[in-house]
Symmetry: C2
Subunit: 206 residues, 2 copies
Amino acid sequence: MTQSKIPDIIISRLPIYLRALRHMQGQGKQTTSSQELGEWVGVSAAQIRKDLSQFGEFGKQGTGYNIAFLIKKLNEIMHIDRVWDVAVVGMGDMGHAIARYQGFADRGFRVAMLFDSDPAKIGEEIDGFVVRDSAQMVPAIQQAGIRIAMLCVPASAAQAVANQLVQAGVKAILNYAPISLTVPPGVRVQYLDPSIGLQRMTYYLE
Amino acid sequence: MTQSKIPDIIISRLPIYLRALRHMQGQGKQTTSSQELGEWVGVSAAQIRKDLSQFGEFGKQGTGYNIAFLIKKLNEIMHIDRVWDVAVVGMGDMGHAIARYQGFADRGFRVAMLFDSDPAKIGEEIDGFVVRDSAQMVPAIQQAGIRIAMLCVPASAAQAVANQLVQAGVKAILNYAPISLTVPPGVRVQYLDPSIGLQRMTYYLE
DNA sequence: TAGATTGTTAATCGATTAACAATC
DNA sequence: TAGATTGTTAATCGATTAACAATC
């Protein structure tokens, strides 16, 4: 066995490291250390080194990490050394904002299909893409081989749509709907419910 | 010492439990068990019981938890047995969507102020609120006593705006900008960068 | 009552940190 | 070289799970 299972919690930190590294690169820096990177992202230097060491030896004693090289390696590790097509379902305000979001382009993703079930929205053009009828969603996603979807429908519809996405072959769902989804093994969900984010902080406010 | 420090990781799960309980309540259920709730949210029954036991004894042997009662208790624990005013900064597509989002109303939050620095947006009315000039943000938030903000500005402006928010007395920031923020102790940040969410899943896709 | 389920304890498991030899 | 910083090991710390007496 050449590679034992990497803990999920380590995987979940890698995108944060990558984001920080690209920020540093944007500032013209060539090199960083586990110390500096850790301070930037709020993680101990030891943890940075431990996390990265799961995948190889990317640094040099005495000098630290070459930023461009580490970015390249992290892109490969996280499988974003390519462009993933993403389908967006639900063209309400949030779906709209996501469809027009400019931040995906240089981070490994491309919004490739938009869906809604509302006849008033079907056919609408958003950022060069025409909103398609959800009724054609499953075959369309299947045929395009899309594996990632962003779910922006109301909570009441979210589980049913998620089921369809799974049926269409989607393996990763970014869920904006305020509801826990049940999906089969092998399908991943990340949650972005803004109320949950807020409620995680109010405990600490008097 | 009557109450030792509750781990952050437990606090972070409570909103998920609450959301599931409200879902069950909406389905007309009166009672649930740690088993059932755990299955719904993807957490072990033992963990549900352990988490809740940090705050009191809310269940009954043999019958489980009264849903309405547990919801009430969780609301109190999480300090959302009130309505928190929230300021939204940055009225791009995302800020717009957030300002118009209907999901905060019954979850303890109210969007109370909107800000942007773009003259083209200042004065615009969104959902009954007029977009104010960011230049007046610090005194306005201070005077209103707002403690929670949602940050929807571009990454390049996010840290500077966060500094202003801190200066204005904000203690909790929900950050949509794709950048790690540095804030003083006592200020909390939750991150909702969609690319991070997607990148946390691509590792598992071949 | 009998069955179900809690709250809690102890055991296990996993993640983080501290420390340091290796080495650039 | 001397100073800095890595990758890794062992120790510590914390979180999760299993099990069960208590009891509704």
